[in-house]
Subunit: 560 residues, 2 copies
């Protein structure tokens, strides 16, 4: 016999979640959310995890839903608990990842009445959700119940529309909280029928193809994206039509003529090439871009035209010269344009590819002789990654370094670049490792690793997670971006230079630990790290002050 | 020569903060907030702390401003950073503690444009601030500058009006960020002239005194409060007029006839007394109350009348029988009532004090022979506390246990009972220890201590902080409140039973560590703990399953 809360609305909520295909719940312990915790657990159909720190729990949910695009349910108690979800909810919103946030609340009559664990919970996630619903309190008649059930159905559907994003359900619960009763199989499900992809019509394609004739030099620029074989084929097709295709590690689409290391390529440009490299048109799509250099380049010297393609929010005025905001699915539109275009040789493309080739040659020449540094360490790490690894790049030095190296076809790259916070990189990787059969590799720095120490505060740490911590003694990112180093307060105000021991973090959570402080040690510890599927921590010590010099020398070497 | 940002608005903001008397800034490192970080640091007049985890930083600020009621400035970078402030900001709001939250932001033209570390920051703290101001972006003319400076002045004043609370300033900053220039002494200050206390008029006093004649049996119930000698005198005066005065450790006002252990007293009531103990009127004031028992008692059997006194929000309908919401300063009103009343003997008061006396006698008799448990450990701890200690009680078992013991006159008790979250108890204590000359004692459990591990992630851990961690192997609170223990999932879903090692947390942060697992060891380790002003951790191991039995036996013994 399956049990459930004796509160009919709670029982219905849990059944509807299951009926709508949700299968994962991350619970942060509390009293007020007890009826929901018990019902999700007793149901038997959910994978239930218990994570005490709500901030970590939410980033873990993000990592799970980043993996399979299915909403993960987050469940917390009343009071400030739900506020700790906010950083991950904002990140999920900007990455377009669905999450169903359920916060328990006191009955409305006790809000703002000096009660314990009670605050005004409405609107606290408002900027970062598709929908927020304050569920009606304990409906007692049939109309109230059917209203309640419709709202729950609607909330789950809103996790996917207009684009995937978090949804917030606030549930007022009255004492006594813990009564259980026999579960009833009956549940009201509303199936949402949604035409997800609207085909662009013929006349639009015709118009755009005609416009493209006036803009022969095209750069197609893509940001963060999920792996997508059909789209990859389209991109490779478009590159045979003379387009220059640029993307990044986290675009997860590769091709011979796709320039996937934008910064490395831009740094290899010599001054004489500038005029030849200027596009008539930039077409952009996908999520956030890591490269600041490309934004700076085309903000300073904007192309004649910029089109951004997005079915939901096409007004992305990246270079302040946007002239077409194309509200349509990018894959469908690009496929149609690819079909309508003819193969052609393009000098414009040749120039770009020549520079890209030069950057690759110089890149390898430099690394051959580079001294021990972040740059060198990342090169060894990336060479050692399993061919099917899922790589989580932490903000912010890690994700920037990775952009300089080539990636293997079947590796997948993820990063919290929606809001680019340092706050939940570990937990996101933990969440993904719970689902991924392939190893998940977290590439991070000592600050980000220490920040999210509570990612490992759990009785259920998954296997297969490899945490690689490049310890350069503080916020190394501030040494490699211009400004802070010259300020005279670099170490105190920016790097927060401190001894962050990944070893102690590993010890706190009982994780096996390896370390390396030079090339030879790194070589062998990487072998050990990937020898089996044990979750472990590898800490790599690099010289704080040397790193920036090596990086500067690298950028200089790219033009040689 | 004092330097400051070459952005005139940033320079002005920093000067106005100083001119308005603010002296403390907690900075969480970032790039976008660089101009502000540099200007606060270069100014020379601010105590600048650098705390990488914004959640911990904000609770630390709360602990500082809880101590001296002066707003602490919190400064973070753009993106999710400010969201990590939310739990402490909500707590400060409900505790009425002033904070000035400054979040750096990208220029408006780059918000929601796929930029790094950028999100919609407006409104994210809306529920928990007196005011939110999005400062105008780089004012270039005189009108714009004067507008900007007025807004900054207004924001600082809003930290105190209508009641002390957080204020959120969002500051859009354009690159280049790090230019410095010579500071200019000129600054526009607006002095706010505020009549803080409005005297209640004669006719009101007269009316209330007349009402009191119809309600001879009065309970005066006070929640959280700061130490206040004048008010303490008033309360002692009112008790000589026959009133029953009840408060809690965190009320910080003591007196011979003040019942400061509400739950202990209520549990000592024998059934025959009930009718004699019924008040005609409850008058309440102050912040949140910990005791659930008193709320339950009078919700079940409400008095004829309930008055709540508060100058800002008097509609606190604690027993759902509120009939006067008195919008006036409680100290002034109570002093006036005290003056207008005559001394009298009250049987009602005698009955209550008799029960209270019985509870004290039974309390000591029980503890004399109690076996090793949370109950016993807290008794030893409270006996050992320095006579002037500032005690930070963590949520939630710690704060509940402390309510059962008597407190010394000059000790001060604090707890995050605004929202009662587990999330920042360590950091709040760290913040207070930065300012307090007296030792600060954190009384906490293993879950709360581990949750806020990043409280100690700092290069500037203060001296004089004594962390006492009662380790009962998980969320012990869920064993002592009814419900979860009977659910069949107590350990997994509620206690989150796990090995939380305070020793490893101490080691992560380089703090000296002591431990005790019985009465004898505790005796000697408490001596060692308070032997000097070193900050250290004392972990006390108590038997998880025994604790609830001892507590149940204790409550039973109170009536004997």
């Amino acid at each position: 016999m399956v049990k459930t809360s004796d509160k009919a609305s709670v029982a219905a909520l849990v059944s509807i979640c299951y009926g709508q295909g949700l299968r994962r719940v991350i619970i942060s312990p509390g009293s007020r959310n007890g009826p929901l915790s018990l019902s999700f657990k007793e149901h038997g159909g959910f994978d239930v995890q218990v994570i005490p720190d709500e901030r970590a729990a939410a980033f873990m949910a993000l990592g799970m839903s980043q993996f399979d695009k299915v909403p993960t349910i987050l469940l917390c108690t009343s009071g400030s608990a739900v506020l700790n979800y906010a950083p991950a909810v904002a990140e999920a919103f900007y990455q377009r990842i669905p999450l169903l946030v359920i916060s328990a609340d006191r009955p409305k009559e006790w809000v703002d009445q000096l009660e314990g664990q009670t605050m005004l919970q409405n609107g606290v996630l408002k900027n970062f959700v598709n929908k927020e619903i304050d569920l009606p309190q304990e409906p007692s008649d049939e109309i109230g119940k059917r209203f309640h059930d419709r709202l729950v159905n609607e909330a789950i559907a809103a996790c996917q529309y207009p684009v995937p994003a978090p949804v917030h359900l606030n549930v007022h619960l009255t004492e006594p909280l813990y009564g259980l009763t026999e579960a009833n199989a009956e549940v009201r499900l509303i199936e949402e029928i949604l035409v997800k992809k609207c085909l662009p019509d013929e006349s639009l394609i015709k118009e755009l193809l005609s416009d493209l004739k006036d803009h022969p030099r095209v750069i197609l620029l893509m940001g963060m994206h999920s792996p997508d074989q059909a789209l990859e084929k389209t991109l490779n097709g478009l590159s045979s039509k003379g387009w220059v295709i640029m993307n990044e590690s986290s675009s997860n689409l590769r091709g011979d003529k796709i320039i996937s290391c934008i910064d490395r390529c831009l740094e290899a440009i010599k001054t004489e090439n500038e005029e030849l490299l200027k596009p008539d048109l930039i077409i952009s799509f996908g999520g956030p871009l890591v490269s600041k250099k490309i934004k700076q380049r085309f903000r300073k010297d904007p192309p004649k035209a910029h089109w951004h393609i997005d079915a939901h929010q096409p007004h992305i005025d990246m270079f302040q010269c946007l002239n077409k905001a194309i509200r349509v699915d990018p894959s469908l539109l690009l496929a149609a344009l690819n079909e309508g275009l003819h193969e052609m040789k393009s000098e414009f493309q040749d120039h770009w590819l020549e520079i890209s080739d030069r950057s690759i040659k110089n890149h390898f020449a430099f690394l051959e002789v580079a001294s021990w540094s972040d740059m060198k360490a990342y090169s060894q790490i990336l060479d050692a990654l399993p061919s099917q690894a899922r790589i989580q790049m932490a903000n912010s030095a890690a994700v920037r370094y990775v952009q300089l190296y080539d990636h293997l076809r079947n590796q997948e790259f993820y990063a919290n670049r929606g809001v680019s916070g340092i706050d939940g990189c570990n937990s996101t990787a933990v969440g993904m490792a719970h689902l991924s059969k392939e190893p998940v590799v977290l590439l991070t720095g000592d600050m980000a690793f220490r920040y999210d120490v509570n990612a490992f505060w759990s009785n259920q740490i998954p296997r297969g997670l490899k945490c690689i911590v490049v310890n350069n003694g503080g916020g190394g990112i501030f040494r490699i971006i211009p400004g802070p180093s010259a300020s005279g307060h670099l170490e105190e105000l920016f790097e927060a230079a401190m001894e962050n021991s990944a070893e102690k973090v590993a010890s706190l959570s009982g994780l096996p630990y390896l370390s390396a402080k030079n090339e030879v040690e790194l070589e062998s510890s990487l072998k050990e790290l990937f020898a089996d599927d044990a979750t472990m921590v590898l800490e790599i010590f690099t010289p704080r002050e040397e790193n920036e010099k090596v990086l500067a020398a690298y950028f200089k070497a790219l033009t040689s």
